[in-house]
Amino acid sequence: MDSLALRLNEDKSCLCLGVSITAWLTFLFGFAPLLAVLGVSVGISSFYTRTLLHVFEWANLHMDLRAKEKNRQLFRHDTNGKLLSLKQEIQELRGCAGCLTSEFNLTDVLFFCRKAMENVVDDDVTKRFSPQKLDSWNLLTRNNHNFCHISLRLKVVWVLGLLLRYGVLLPLRVTLAITGICLFLVLSTLVGVLPNTRLRSCLSDKVHLMGCHICVRSLSAIITYHNRQNKPQNDGICVANHTTPIDGIILANDRCYSLVGQLHGGLLGMIQRAMVTSSPHIWFERAEVKDRHLVAKRLIDHVADKTKHPVLIFPEGTCINNTSVMMFRKSSFELGCTIYPVAIKYDPRFGDAFWNSSKFGLVRYLLRTMSSWAIVCSVWYLPPMNRKEGEDAVQFANRVKSVIAAKGGFVDLKWDGGLKRARVKEAFKEEQQELYSRLVVGVSQGADNAASDSAKES
């Protein structure tokens, strides 16, 4: 009797397990992709983000309390800076030493010394190439290695979060992504077979948008578009700040763009070739990339054709960590087309979108992104801008950059994003030396004259 009851119980639990697994798999492979394809939102995202924020608040309160118990303050990341010009500071130093402010003095070295030390402790550039440090912990170990050992309760919450992210969210997202990409490749090639008519361009737009919708779902990206009335039109170039390769997908989720770039190999190349069969993107072979005139000509031709989509360009040239906007390359601003600036700001609490390309490759980056909580971002469309009379390409680029920086709340930096990998040019050091030498050379001539005068007198 007992063994029978036991067997029945076992059967029941097996049945339950079987049913739940089937339900889960159906959701994973059937329902969720269907929702994504149809672009239907079930309203879960705001509930999800609010719950997460509550959990983070609790966790941080908990950590603060524990830290207070140990009588020590949790250290927060904070920066502040104040600038006096080189001339002002050196003259101040010389004045203190009681000498004329226009001669070299041994105190001059103190200025360069202090500046250098300040930059050793904190500088404006190197921190832009690593993920933004958060003020509070968001239950991802990648953001903090010390925090998770504070208490058992916190550790339990963290483990639960880990299970949720890697056990539920990651498989779901990866499945969606693979389904989406396959679907896109097939449909895009099919549409490319059709003759070149209005129907074909209409269909290809729909296929591109569908592909983007699925990709956005697969990343759990919650995007808010602002000022849609300024959305880029077919007659210009769209420029935006660059944080991650996902930027393109986020923008293309709202309207179709033509992308510019180098033709890659492998999976990415396959996707690129599929894209271009149905819609005119501008892909270059590796050799052609160096030829600036060729690039410029193709861009101008594309923009002149009003039936083609606006070109999407990221003038920084490399991924920056979304706290600042770095120097814009002037090549896109020389063409004389209308520029549509866009600012993209990611909320770092739910997952860091920045791709640190010197640290890990694209696949690992995508896995990290898909195992974070979500990608929450805001996109601001800014009014179109044109080059003014008498303004050169560099000034125009800086003007666009400051508009984007102001809207997104970024620090506007003059430094080149290329400093991620390359050394700074000697010319900048020579500029500093020249600035300083102006504070030294003026009077040494006067001193010589005074000496020769006094020699004449005596």
């Binding site: 020590r72 070295v109 202090r114 250098a116 030498s437 030294v440 010589d448």
Partner: protein
């Protein structure tokens, strides 16, 4: 994850650095975070290239001299202790420290030690005096190619003439202190370390 765990700072180390340099616990943790972000090779030490990677430091005319100050004589790597020891020179002097027991060893950020740091920027060969040649070399670093040798020479001569009191055509540390006696070194050679 594995290599990061091994470079986490231990409590005993933090206490030792606190005693030696006077930084607070949170300042040490923050500076450790900075140290590891500069340490691209992730081997627990910094090389001169790691410093040169900071663009604002690389364009500083005296950047190389400052970077050199971090490295002990003849060495190419500096660990976190050495890093903190050098930075400690720039810690602001707090009021409660001024009344401390005068027989205790001089803190790294005393006025005298700050001035010694500045003196050593000029004193290239560490022989405790600044010769005309050394002064010329440092001047050349600061002005680049913009001033002629003759002008620079006369500037160096004038500076030594004004500072030199014992007639050996070199500036000793005592003479250096005399030149800077009215300068508020405590303020000019301190940087704000946020808590």
């Amino acid at each position: 994850m594995g290599s990061r765990a091994s470079t986490l700072l231990r409590e005993e180390e933090i206490e030792e650095i606190k005693k030696e340099t006077g930084f607070s616990h949170s300042q040490i943790t923050r500076l450790y975070s900075r140290f590891t972000s500069l340490d691209k090779g992730e081997n627990g030490t910094l090389s001169r290239e790691d410093f040169q990677r900071i663009p604002e430091l690389a364009i500083n005319p005296l950047g190389d001299r400052i970077i050199n100050a971090f490295f002990p004589e003849g060495e190419d790597q500096v660990n976190f202790r050495g890093f903190m020891r050098t930075l400690a020179h720039f810690r602001p002097i707090e009021d409660n420290e001024k009344n401390k027991n005068p027989t205790a060893s001089e803190p790294l950020n005393s006025r005298s030690n700050k001035l010694l740091f500045a003196f050593r920027l000029y004193d290239l060969d560490r022989d405790d005096k600044i010769s005309r040649d050394e002064l010329l070399q440092v001047l050349r670093m600061m002005v680049g190619v913009n001033i002629s040798d003759e002008q620079l020479g006369s500037i160096a001569d004038r500076t030594i003439q004004e500072a030199d009191t014992n007639g050996d055509s070199c500036i000793s540390f005592q003479e250096f202190i005399k030149v800077l006696e009215k300068v508020d070194v405590e303020q000019k050679m301190s940087i704000r370390f946020l808590h």
